[in-house]
Amino acid sequence: MRVQTAPPRIQVPERRPEDGAAPKTTQPKVSVRDLDFYYGKNQALHNISIEIPERIVMAFIGPSGCGKSTFLRTLNRMNDVIPATRVAGQVLIDNSDIYAPGTDVVELRRRVGMVFQKSNPFPKSIFDNVAYGLRINRITNSSSELAGRVEQALKDAALWSEVKDRLKSSALSLSGGQQQRLCIARALAIRPEVLLMDEPASALDPIATSKIEELIFDLKKQYTIVIVTHNMQQAARVSDTTAFFLLGKLIEVNTTEKMFTAPNEKLTEDYITGRFG
């Protein structure tokens, strides 16, 4: 249980090591070893190994059906809800295997939040949507603290100014872009350590998209973010490192800059330059 004293501002990262301390490279936040994944008899992921450092944005790119969403969903065990799926290998978050027997999946998902491709606000009020995670996890009992956390989450998701006068109205009355930012606020409210985003802007117009991208840029000061995207410009704009998937295999991981200028693999170059996919 993390005990919160004052709601941190977004500019003041919660878990930043002391200035001058060892750089981020010491310990990866997420470390995946030899991960295989099966839908029934169909193997969707082949032998994936990857390390995701703390407080960066990593983008997953690749053509449709390459397994990048499936892989993203293995990081908070969202695939558990799909029948007849099977996982082999290890996913370590802070050095503990989330697929080890006895892992509390509910607790895991509190630490690893997720934003989905299609915005999925609950048919409740705007306030209740953001408060949902706080309430079910009993993060706070005082209603003033609850209101404060909801406000902070909405501010972090750059939605506060647009909804502050109608927190009691239905979340479904918001526009598509606002709904998606509401879902981000909902995920941020419980302050996860890792935030998974599955094509969060694929259904949005360019203005809403750029809002979400700015948001991701801000959020990485506090969170480790993994984002799946179809849009390579978007990957180039928001991410620090990029991973390229093809046919269920991880082809290359590299800094985003190198990935889009001088990739190591021929396949990556072919994909990025639009020769296939």
Binding site: V106, G113, F122
Partner: protein, 280 residues
């Protein structure tokens, strides 16, 4: 030329189908209106305030259906108290929890229960409750009606829950919600108005039941006094008894009681609609 011929056929078929559906709708709704108007016309004459609050009296002395109205409400309350929670729980199980063989067996049993004639349900409850307890009772009547409600409520609840998008469940799970909280806090509220409609259908259905009550609640000339272990009057049984009697006065009262029963069902419908109105 060939194409134009096809177009003409298509338009003719379309016109025919549109007319056919309109005619069928008109016939169905029209028949219903005829029945309602007929009941109102036949029943309104015997309606009076006294009729609504008095208990039955011998032929020629007037009397009313107050005890039957109260009895029907008690029976509906009892059957809803037993039947709605069980039915909704069955629906939640079928839609959210049950997987594989057991769920399909449950679904099959529920579907079979729906098809059982209500008189059989009455006889069954007579055998397992009325005989051992050695008297007809309001309790037995409530259980019989609840048994009829469970499959209706269960299947409609299941269908309504299945309409809730899967993404809502995933959204709640991803926030660290345990399954029971996903179901109770997100999925069921999202389907609440649909579930309420299912409950309404079930209540409307059992409020017209007569046969199972003849074997269980039996009927009574007195007002309900709070004892669930005694026979209790109900509108339907009263209507039945009056309708098969040889007296014109009782026939007229049966019509009036039918009008009251219909108004009662309409009233319950409106109240539940208002209470479960979509807020979001």
């Amino acid at each position: 030329m060939e194409l134009k011929q096809a177009d003409r056929v298509r338009r003719a078929v379309s016109g025919f189908m549109t007319t056919a559906t309109a005619v069928c709708t008109f016939v169905a709704v029209g028949l219903l209106l005829v029945i309602l108007t007929y009941i109102a016309w036949k029943g309104i004459g015997s309606l009076s305030f006294r009729f609504l609050v008095d208990s039955p009296r011998p032929v020629g002395e007037g009397g009313g259906i107050g005890n039957a109205i109260l009895g029907s409400l008690v029976l509906l309350g009892l059957s809803s108290a037993f039947g709605l929670p069980i039915g909704i729980a069955v629906g939640i199980y079928l839609s959210e929890i049950g997987k594989g063989r057991l769920a399909s067996v449950v679904r099959f049993v529920i579907d079979t229960l729906t098809g059982i004639p209500s008189i059989v349900t009455g006889v069954f409850i007579y055998a397992i409750i009325v005989l051992p307890m050695k008297n007809f009772s309001a309790f037995a009547g409530g259980v019989a009606l609840a048994l009829i409600m469970v499959p209706i409520v269960g299947r409609t609840t299941e269908e309504m829950l299945k309409l809730v998008p899967h993404s809502l469940r995933e959204g709640a799970l991803a926030l660290g919600a345990p399954q029971w909280r996903v179901i109770m806090g997100v999925v069921v509220p999202a389907a609440a108005s649909g579930i309420a409609t299912g409950g309404m259908l079930a209540i409307a259905r059992v409020s017209g039941e007569t046969a199972p009550l003849l074997f269980t609640a039996f009927g009574s000339r007195f007002f309900f006094d709070g004892d669930l272990n005694q026979p209790i009057a109900s509108l339907t049984v009263q209507i039945y008894n009056y309708a098969i009697s040889p007296y014109d006065e009782w026939h007229a009262q049966a019509w009036a009681a039918t009008l009251v029963l219909m108004t009662l069902i309409l009233g319950i419908n409106i109240v539940v609609r208002v209470l479960t109105r979509k807020r979001f």
